[in-house]
Symmetry: C2
Subunit: 242 residues, 2 copies
Amino acid sequence: MQKKYLTIYHDLLNKIQANAWEETAMLPSENELSILYATSRETIRKALNLLAQNGYIQKVHGKGSVIINRNKFSFPVSGIVSFRELADKLDLSSKTYVENLVRLESGNSFEDTLEVDKGEPIWHVARVREMSGERIILDKDYFNENYIPLLSKEICEHSIYEYIETKLELVIGFAQKEIIVEEPTAEDRDLLDLEGFSNIVVIKSLVYLEDTRLFQYNESRHRPDKFRFVDFARRVKSGTPL
Amino acid sequence: MQKKYLTIYHDLLNKIQANAWEETAMLPSENELSILYATSRETIRKALNLLAQNGYIQKVHGKGSVIINRNKFSFPVSGIVSFRELADKLDLSSKTYVENLVRLESGNSFEDTLEVDKGEPIWHVARVREMSGERIILDKDYFNENYIPLLSKEICEHSIYEYIETKLELVIGFAQKEIIVEEPTAEDRDLLDLEGFSNIVVIKSLVYLEDTRLFQYNESRHRPDKFRFVDFARRVKSGTPL
DNA sequence: TTGCAAAACATGTATATACAAGTTATACTA
DNA sequence: TAGTATAACTTGTATATACATGTTTTGCAA
């Protein structure tokens, strides 16, 4: 990593998480930091703005940068994080079962959602996530074949995202997500341990590459008692000025 | 509004929403914009970064700023938006019933959550939101009395946030949120039209002022069939460099 | 015509300076 | 001593310049 403001960002983040500045809960001033890291104030400000965006600090005009206590709702699951990365982070004993892996040939109903031409093939994967012996999550993925030409059972069992990013060298940019609650389908009842729950939490995501190409539609279907979504939000000033 | 980059941000946002640049779905280049608005490129970049943060454009290195199509999941409900503002935006025929409004004196269980001293009073409001004739949402609010000294039935029926921001002139900064699914309580069953639903979606929020003071805890309890949460997320590069 | 190198153009990073605006500590005055 | 004005901090905004890096167009050469 050669970008100064990113290395400073990560260094500050590590120190925040290691509880340096515990007494004051304040970062050193921008001028102090620019001397500390031997760089300009603008570069420091870029690192600080990243910390603020991600909910680690709050900048207060005239005062300084206050460290935000994130122990309230523990850590955020926001952003785009794959199940594999999440399970690793939480150190959960988890298992993934590939229930279905097909190359949909044509006339399927996802051509519109994925914005591919009629007749273009689409990869479909259905996976069940097991945590502490219970089948909790059903993940249904649909990929544009132009970007993900090949999928194997092994890749799906490990981590599709790791495959996409390291092997295919595609860079994921952003996602539009929607969370709703539905009644379980026959498939949900068949594949998951629903234990009498009459609702299921569904996260639908459209995932785009860094160059704005749409490449994935995902439906993550969770048993309601195991679902949890943590978010950090800044107040949007609704008053459109001028 | 005197801040250049903010006026440019709002102007560009209006034009995006009015579908200027429809053919290319691209903004003019930073240099063109800096001439157009008679300002420096850095100021333009501040406005563009705001647009990118809020999910309106995606910047592509070497190419330009691509406008993100937000019609997929319609508009986002992310960020901190009050029910009043939301209902106004959606033009819903809605109604608010204040079911409870008390000044909790001491020994209540929310002293810890709101981080107030033992014995300090806390304002509590319970409100039911009705949409198209159905009682859908139960909003339970708890305010630190140091910041919100007085609440009336009229304020609660209209909009507490408008009161806080315009009358009390407090500036809301950010919130930590958690979304989970619970079984309905007796209170939920009593106050809402649950129609046999055996689950309820709960959004718990800790809301902070711009200077990081915690002033509100909120629980928004939704009937699952009427709940919907839309989000925009950027990929976090998990690989901690260096 | 095809292929490729170079130029032109796009955004990204780093630095410097100046001043505005909010907060806190200092020191002076009544 | 108490109050207040000032100075010394803090972050915020605006501008300019230089170069790095990625993309597209241009034009030359085979």
